[in-house]
Symmetry: C2
DNA sequence: TGTAGACCTTTGTTGGCGCAAATATCCGCA
DNA sequence: TGCGGATATTTGCGCCAACAAAGGTCTACA
């Protein structure tokens, strides 16, 4: 049998195809709201974070972008008024990217149609049991390939101190990023 | 409940995270062989195709790249001697990208470690039943988001004529790509 | 206190990719 | 045969992101 038809390659290809296909399906609704893919992810992550803000570095860790990439994404979003930079009072090197009211509004405006997209191309295709099993499998893989993607979230902060009561979280010993 | 914590967003995020994480895990082995991610996909798809060749347009359809993107990928691979352009005898507009012996060798050299990577971060984590169910779910989604990603493959050609006997497959009525 | 090293962010540079336009070719139809 | 529209590939252009370097700041330790 041809080694190029190995079922592991097929499995990997299938996963990539599904991911790419889903992204392509979501794209139109997002760009209709003037948000690129990565813009949306950024704004969403900010919206989900305590005080709707995140340090640049944490945003980079969560999104997988380089820190310079984050700088420019926030440049664009700040130019459009969806995000603003806020100096960090406890560490003058750092700055927060904080969602503005306009950013929050933009996010909430796209959300319904985006959720409908996910529903119609993904979650809605599966039975409850099937979806549950699928997500459990994904989590199993995620825990192996991405052990530390929670920088700046409540759970990560809780690991070091009672979190969320002060905005300037103490530095935590970050696992080397490679 | 915060609409930003909708389980559909979580599901989508999980899938994206897994995909990105897996890609990141595969990267080192591939780039150690001098192949970028997209290079590897291209070479692999050529290797799997009849006569180890594919028309530029079909390659674009399979990879999701634009046709100009394919032009430049093949430019690079041809410069490195892994692929060569072959004129199509039945259609002087078209050209094939054909895997060279060096390309085939390069592909077979990376394959073992790449398969081991997939095994250790993905398929090897799951029981047989779990993997089967996972792939079935992926196929279900794939069929919805990507109904036509088989351009230039045997199955696609078989739909129009007894295929594979002549290299210059007859044009098939391509579903509009948008 | 002073200093070395780590850390956070930004900026210059480079390479990749999509879009639109240009060129060559094919095909159906009068 | 000759023409118009469709198709295959390439090229010019602009945007986006990674990498590397630079400047400012923090922290541990002597």
């Amino acid at each position: 049998m041809n080694p190029l038809d190995d079922p592991r390659l097929t499995a990997m290809g299938l996963l990539a195809e599904v991911h790419a296909g889903l992204i392509a399906r979501m794209q139109p609704a997002l760009s209709a709201s003037g948000l690129s893919d990565i813009d949306f992810e950024t704004v969403l992550r900010l919206g989900r974070s305590p005080w709707q803000r995140l340090r640049m570095t944490d945003l980079a860790a969560q999104t997988g972008l380089s820190t310079s990439g984050v700088t420019r994404v926030i440049d664009r979003l700040e130019r459009d008024g969806l995000v603003e930079r806020v100096a960090c009072s406890s560490d003058r090197r750092a700055s927060y990217a904080a969602l503005t009211d306009a950013g929050r509004a933009r996010l909430e405006a796209v959300l319904p149609v985006h959720l409908r997209d996910i529903e119609s191309c993904f979650t809605g295709l599966l039975s409850d049991d099937e979806l549950t099993a699928f997500l459990a499998t994904l989590r199993k893989i995620r825990d192996v390939v991405r052990p530390c993607a929670t920088a700046g979230t409540a759970s990560a902060a809780a690991a070091t101190a009672r979190a969320g009561e002060e905005l300037h979280l103490p530095r935590q010993p970050q696992q080397p990023r490679r």
